[in-house]
């Protein structure tokens, strides 16, 4: 076992996914299969290998500090599942 069902629960919470007991069990076993397979990578010695986070070597992609048109409040809110006035509305955020 690589990942316990408690860890699955923790990860599901980090990812904000509600999962029921049955799913938790299924995910735990499937994730373990996958992680076991992924363990293959430990056969390789990667000491000193620079990690590759981009597929190609582009650097310094910039834009100038020039204003472009915003889409406006109305357009911003058109897709919102819940909006009120000029705002998106969500259940109360407790700080």
């Amino acid at each position: 076992m690589k990942i316990s069902s408690q860890e699955v629960e923790y990860v599901a919470h980090l990812a904000r996914l509600e999962i029921n007991e049955k799913e938790k069990e299924k995910f735990t076993s499937q994730l373990n299969d996958i992680l076991l397979y992924i363990d293959k990578l430990n056969e390789l010695d990667t000491k000193g290998v620079e990690p590759m986070s981009h597929a190609i070597a582009v650097t310094n992609a910039f834009r100038e500090d020039k204003t472009s048109t915003s889409i406006g409040t109305e357009q911003t809110l058109t897709n919102a599942p819940d909006a009120r006035g000029e705002f998106f509305r969500v259940p109360k955020v407790i700080e």
Binding site: A15, R16, K40, L44, V49, P51, K92
Partner: protein
């Protein structure tokens, strides 16, 4: 031949000669859709009204002599590219009602080239899948055998071309999502070099792997589509500002003196013997055409799937965090508080495969596991890339099967995610290394299922891929079959 069965270049000729109108072509496509779409289900949304309207406008342009590369050509778009004012779902319930206020750069380019949009095609939810079975809108069926999957994730776009429900289409490829369905549907599909085609407006699955590319009926059409799609986009930081050749110039050139690398790691146990046989036959054709096949090695091939299934889910777990029910898309009803809103919205909005990958990715990035998983995979990725750099010192292109097997049955692998992941075994390395790849048809199984082979080249060498694919296509003289629908 019906108009909807023709290629872009054949239709262009007819348009230029005044033999057909854009409206006739478009109507022919929609009558085919009326006849077969119910059985195939390759579209999430059809845009018939818009298409017919665009076709009449195209005919006006044609009359004025204003004929662009895609004027009058009905094109299908994978529902992963954003279309301004038109619902774009990415095959997911969570975006079932999302109307983008912008279009992807590729859509703008296709529009500028005169394309007529047939509709938005079906796909695995968020492009996560190899079978187009994870779509919230139901599966797409392989036109060659309706009991089988068309491949994925761009199964809708591949099927639409194979079933003549459009002339050409757009897909996206993160680990094989263009090449594998192209192979399984018997058409041409290209994944360009990372950075060659703009990703702006392509709904992200794994940002460092995603790339848009075309599905076409032949190699020349692929070149035509690439001429339109390729090019620098200042809206994307990873877009490469390099000159784009006219890809059509590579059509019809021979490959005399070329070295074609055959990686031994791609001819392993578990490959369907009919696939191996078809590739062997293709090798003969290539050698008769003047190419020389050489054995090469890509030693880290066996680690590609493991590497991919860390990097892609890790990036996806972050890319899909924006689907939170606040600004667009689904929000679960009757939630008591903020946390419940997030958790329930995402539970209801995402399907099982998407959740599974979000879970893997979140775990791989979480405290204490980053080095063991994400960092390790990024290092192995560098080794995989290095394999290709070394290989291309000794050969011009690499030839491999696209998929280890022809199309499998619907439902066959849905309960075994790992088996499903292994069906991408030959396509994943390309995305990890950022190099271009093309899949072209190279025969059929005895049961009548298409088989595809894949050519790979170095960064920005799509021209070479088109050249060898076109040379093979010409020399192989494969019979033209159409799915019996």
């Amino acid at each position: 031949m019906e108009l909807n069965q023709l290629t872009i270049h054949e239709l262009q000729e007819k348009i230029k000669n005044g033999e057909v109108s854009a409206l006739q072509i478009t109507e022919s496509v929609f009558s085919r859709i009326d006849a077969v779409e119910e059985r195939v289900h390759c579209y999430i949304r059809l845009m018939k009204e818009e298409a017919l309207h665009a076709a009449s406008k195209a005919d006006d342009d044609i009359k004025k002599g204003d004929i662009k590369p895609l004027t009058g050509i009905p094109i299908a778009l994978k529902d992963i590219v954003c279309t301004k004012g038109i619902v774009t779902t990415c095959g997911s319930h969570i975006l079932h009602n999302f109307v983008p206020p912008y279009s992807a750069t590729v859509v703008e380019k296709l529009t500028a080239a005169g394309a007529i949009y047939v509709g938005k095609t079906n796909m695995d939810e968020f492009a996560m899948g190899s079978s187009t079975e994870t779509s919230w809108f139901g599966p797409t069926r392989n036109p060659w055998d309706l009991e089988r999957i068309p491949g994925g994730s761009s199964g809708g776009s591949a099927t639409a071309v194979a079933a003549d429900e459009c002339i050409a289409s757009i897909g996206s490829d993160t680990g094989g999502s263009i090449r594998q369905p192209a192979a399984l549907c018997g058409i041409v599909g290209m994944k360009p070099t990372y950075g060659r085609v703009s990703r702006f407006g392509l709904i992200a699955f794994a940002s460092s792997l995603d790339q848009i590319g075309p599905f076409t009926k032949d190699v020349e059409d692929c070149a035509i589509m690439m001429n339109i799609l390729a090019g620098y986009d200042p809206k994307e930081s990873t877009s490469v500002n390099a000159e784009v050749p006219d890809y059509r110039q590579f059509i019809g050139r021979d490959i005399k003196g070329w070295k074609i690398g055959i990686p031994k790691e791609y001819f392993i146990e578990g490959i369907d013997p009919e696939v191996t046989a078809a590739i062997k036959k293709a090798i003969t054709v290539i050698e008769q055409g003047g190419g020389q096949c050489v054995n090469i090695t890509l030693p880290h091939t066996q680690y590609c799937v493991a590497t991919y299934y860390i990097i892609a889910p890790a990036e996806a777990s972050s890319n899909l965090a924006r689907y939170d029910g606040v600004r667009y898309g689904l929000r679960a009803a009757d939630v008591r508080d903020l946390l419940e809103m997030y958790r329930t919205t995402r539970m209801e909005g995402f399907g099982a495969e998407v959740k599974r990958r979000i879970m893997i990715g979140t775990y791989a990035l979480s405290a204490g596991y980053y080095d063991a998983y994400y960092k390790k995979a990024s290092q192995v990725r560098a080794l995989i890339k290095r394999d290709f750099d070394e290989a291309f010192k000794t050969c011009d292109v690499i030839l491999t099967p696209t998929s280890p097997t022809p199309a499998f049955k619907i439902g066959e692998k849905t309960d075994d995610p790992l088996q499903m992941y292994l069906s991408d075994i030959f396509t994943i390395s390309t995305n990890l290394a950022g190099i271009p790849g093309i899949s072209i048809p190279c025969g059929f199984t005895s049961g009548g299922l298409p088989i595809g082979m894949q050519f790979l080249a170095g960064h920005f060498e799509e021209g070479k891929l088109i050249q060898i694919a076109s040379a093979y296509e010409k020399n192989a003289k494969n019979e033209k079959r159409r799915p019996a629908l």
